[in-house]
Symmetry: C2
Subunit: 223 residues, 2 copies
Amino acid sequence: MPETLTGRDDEARAEQVYQLVLEGIVAGRYEQGVRLRERELSELYNVSRIPVREAIQRLEQDGFVETFPRRGAVVRQLTLADVNELFDVRLCLETFAARMAAVRVAAGEPGGRLQELLDDTRQAIDDGRTDDVVRLSAAFHAEIVRLSGNRLLIESVKPLFGRMRWIFGLAHNRSNELQRDEHMELCNAILGGKADLAYTLAYSHIELGREPVLKGLAETLEP
Amino acid sequence: MPETLTGRDDEARAEQVYQLVLEGIVAGRYEQGVRLRERELSELYNVSRIPVREAIQRLEQDGFVETFPRRGAVVRQLTLADVNELFDVRLCLETFAARMAAVRVAAGEPGGRLQELLDDTRQAIDDGRTDDVVRLSAAFHAEIVRLSGNRLLIESVKPLFGRMRWIFGLAHNRSNELQRDEHMELCNAILGGKADLAYTLAYSHIELGREPVLKGLAETLEP
DNA sequence: ACTCTATTTTTGGTATACAAAAAGTCCGGA
DNA sequence: TCCGGACTTTTTGTATACCAAAAATAGAGT
C-alpha cells in the first residue's frame, strides 16, 4: 500500500488523511457502500483516531460519505438523481459566476488565469495527456467562480466540484475537443465583458455535459 | 449562566455544544472577534475537548467562526460584503427553488406546509409575537427550498439560512406586514404551479430584503 | 515608549480507557 | 432447512492525561 503518511509529518494530519481517503474514493479504491472504520483508517495511515474523525467529518460535508449515529461512515452511493441535482445546482451557481466574472472584467478587474488555462488545455489535448485535460478543465470552471469575486459562492461551489471530480471518475465525459471549444467561447465572452453572453454560454455548456454523464453513469451503475 | 448540559445527557454532546455556542453567537453573547477556546468551552459545558472540537469544526463550515492553524477559532466579523455575497447566492438558489417548487406542484406534488406557515405567520403578527414571525418567515423560505425536491439544494442552502438568522439578529428587517404580503403572493404562485411568476416573485422578494439589512447592519457596525 | 526575550497558554495531536449501541455469531426450535 | 432470540465482539462517542510546538503574554532592558 503506497498510502502512508510519509516524509515530513509536520503538516496537518487531518488534512492529509482527508486527501488520502478522498483520493481513494475518487479513484474507486474505496467502493461505494464500504464502511470507513476509524480504527482501520487510523492504523492504515498511522495516526490516531482524532485526525481521522476530523477527516471523515469533512468528507461528509463534501458529500463523499454518509455517517449514521453510532454506525460510522459509509462511502456514498451515487445515484442518477444525485447527478441531476448536482447539475441543477451547478446551473444556478456557475451561470451566475460567469455573468459576474464578465461584469467584473468589464469593470476593469483582471481576467485571471482563464486564457492561460485554455492554452494549457490545448497543449494537453495535443499531447494526449487526458488526466491533465480533465484537471485543467475543472480548473477553468473553478477560475470562473473565483473571478466572480463572491467568496461565499466560491465556498459553496467547492463541494460541488469535488463531487464532479468523483462522477467523472465513474462516468466518462464527451469529447474534450468540443468542451474546449465551448470553454474558449465562454472565455472570450467573459474577457470581453459580455455578461449576458457569458451567462448563456455557461448555461448551455453545463447543460450539454449532463446527458453524457447520466448515460455513462447509468452504464456503470447497472452493468 | 443557564448554559449547562442539563437533564438527560445521552444525546450527542457535540451537537449540543454546537447548538449552545451557535445560540450564543446568534444572540450576540459571543461578540464578533471573540476567541473560542477549547478548554474554556469544555469546562463551561462540562464536556471534554473532543465534542467541542467537533462543534467548532461545524461552526466553521457553517460560516460562524473562522479558525486559524494553531490559533483556534474566532467568532467571525460580518462585513457588508458578506451580506451582499449572501444575498447574491440566495438569489441564485432560492429563485431556482421557487421555480422548481412551482413546477413540481404543477406536476401533482403536494404543496407542503406553505399555506399553513403563512397562516401561522398571520396569527403571530396579529398577536405581536415578533420572534415567532421571524422564525416562521425563515421556515417559509426553507419550505420552498424543501419543495424544490433537490436534496443537494437543500443541503447547500442550509448554511445560508444559518447566516441569515445571524444577520437578522444584528440588523433589523423591514415591515413584517410587507414581507408577509410578498410571501402570500409567492405562495399562491407556487401552489398555482406558475413557475415563472414564482421565480420573479422570489427574486424581487429577496432583493427587497437586501437594502434594509445592509442599512441596519451598517448602523450596527459603525455606531 | 519600544524592542527583544522569557514565561505561560493554547492548539493539535497521541495514547488509553470505557460505556453503550451496533453488528455479528451461535444455538435451539419449528 | 430456515428462523428468531440470546450471547459475544466491534465500533463509536466520549473522557482523561499527556506532550511538543506555536502563539500570546509578561517582563526586562535600553
